[in-house]
Symmetry: C2
Subunit: 325 residues, 2 copies
Amino acid sequence: MDEFDQIAALFRPLTFGAPEALDLMDDAAVIAGRPGFDLVITKDAMVEGVHFLKHDPPDLTARKLLRVNLSDLAAKGATPFCYFLAVAWPPAYDEVGRGLFADGLRRDQLAYGLSLLGGDTVSTPGPLTLSVTLLGWVEAGRMVKRSGARVGDIVLVSGFIGDGGLGLQAARGELDGLGADAVAYLADRYRLPSPRLALSAALRDHASAAADVSDGLLADAGHIGDASGVALAIDLDRLPTSNAAAAWLGRQADPVAASAALAAFGDDYEVVCTAAPQTVDALRTVAAKAGTSLTRIGEVRAGQGVSARWRGVEIAIERTGWRHA
Amino acid sequence: MDEFDQIAALFRPLTFGAPEALDLMDDAAVIAGRPGFDLVITKDAMVEGVHFLKHDPPDLTARKLLRVNLSDLAAKGATPFCYFLAVAWPPAYDEVGRGLFADGLRRDQLAYGLSLLGGDTVSTPGPLTLSVTLLGWVEAGRMVKRSGARVGDIVLVSGFIGDGGLGLQAARGELDGLGADAVAYLADRYRLPSPRLALSAALRDHASAAADVSDGLLADAGHIGDASGVALAIDLDRLPTSNAAAAWLGRQADPVAASAALAAFGDDYEVVCTAAPQTVDALRTVAAKAGTSLTRIGEVRAGQGVSARWRGVEIAIERTGWRHA
């Protein structure tokens, strides 16, 4: 298959007939403005062996690629619309692998309401290298930014923290002492995150700031602090954890250090957000109705970046790129 | 430098203060609609050793990356606005190389009126792998598509054809028998194409269809034919060539085969377009005023795809992905 046959066979069906894609037969896509709405645009890249494992199934890799980008839109309160794909195929990625990859895209496009509008496929002597540019719509002026946190706001996080990092260890076969079910659950959480799009409307209506948890809870809370010119204090004893992560925590000698590790792991693809105290109940209620839990894990104070506490006492956190509290 | 220091040092200055970029401190960029305009979006990827040479200067690689994308916008009649960048850095790409890369981006951003709005930087064990998602504006409904060519239209091409492919050979030191000046000129044309943005307005007003010449003149003319449901007949004896390419042509035993090779090479980043006979003069005049030549190289006929002629006689062209005429 040459590039054009490949586009026709694998990718043209993924436009789902969107007129903006021009059947992938043009140099570019064209998107008409939508009165009263802004476009929210994010672009994330993934490299085999760095962001996913060499032997991960191609369809799961494709779905993770879409989901890490969808996670950004979820945190911004946006509704997914379309995407552009760049794929650099290594020689070993044969027609079967490419077909599975396209199947994974199709499946999550259907799940999340996305069409493919364009992009590029090239060959590489290196590892499979991917990027997606994802576009969503949000009511004009209402994107939830990182910069809106105010002193006195409450910090909340969706779902569970730490599963992504433990899941990477599980997928690599490096996680000892847990049952097979817990290991399988965690590995699956690493391979296939669940972007919290159900939170979008609640965040838009009730959050003062939000970010997705991709670099790690402490790092991403710090990004909100930096962008807002405030400090986020995170209570490590309040982290919401899955049963599997709780089982792992129970086996660690130092619960404080272990909790700090969970909060430093990346790849959770949850949402960390802030809200004024009087809107927290509304935010949590709307989120719960949408099927997503939001747990209070701290508060916004004067200062800069992020700090960590254990049972109310501030503790020092050390990690590349992060300073002592 | 960790990723955040790198973003602050190298990339934040490249936003040129565009409010949509949110200082690269958020999960996404946000773009307000522009009443009366559509967004034109293209995404091209480049891999070291595939789309540029391993030892090409980083600043030229960065500029080529922007320019191959700008070339798409030029062919669509759009005005460049902003871009999103994904970079996968190999271990050997040190701080000096990254700084030169960012300098190249800055230089062409200034030349073409672009700001950086977002993206992702990751590491790779493989070659330098790049993608740009480029956005431009065009008056609503007026993007120049590939699908507008009609039987009886004239086919034109900007600038010179064949320099890109000869330039690749020149840059590799594989082009014998030409003077040092010609070799240097051609290598430079490969390393740094000139997107024909000066043509945008003329194409919008007078062309029926257009595409940029990245896959090769015959291939890209064929794309117009396929998208329009017509056939483009290209006169290989009329190809506009640079002095260097003409000197190369003069040394080839078979001028027909050599001209067909020039028309099959990629990387020219010119524009091939079609126009109704009565608008050709206006199109060429406006283009000439904007400093760009447009040469008549064929006509649109009933049929499909592309065919080639030499002094009026149809000839068979053979090339991967292309059928006999």
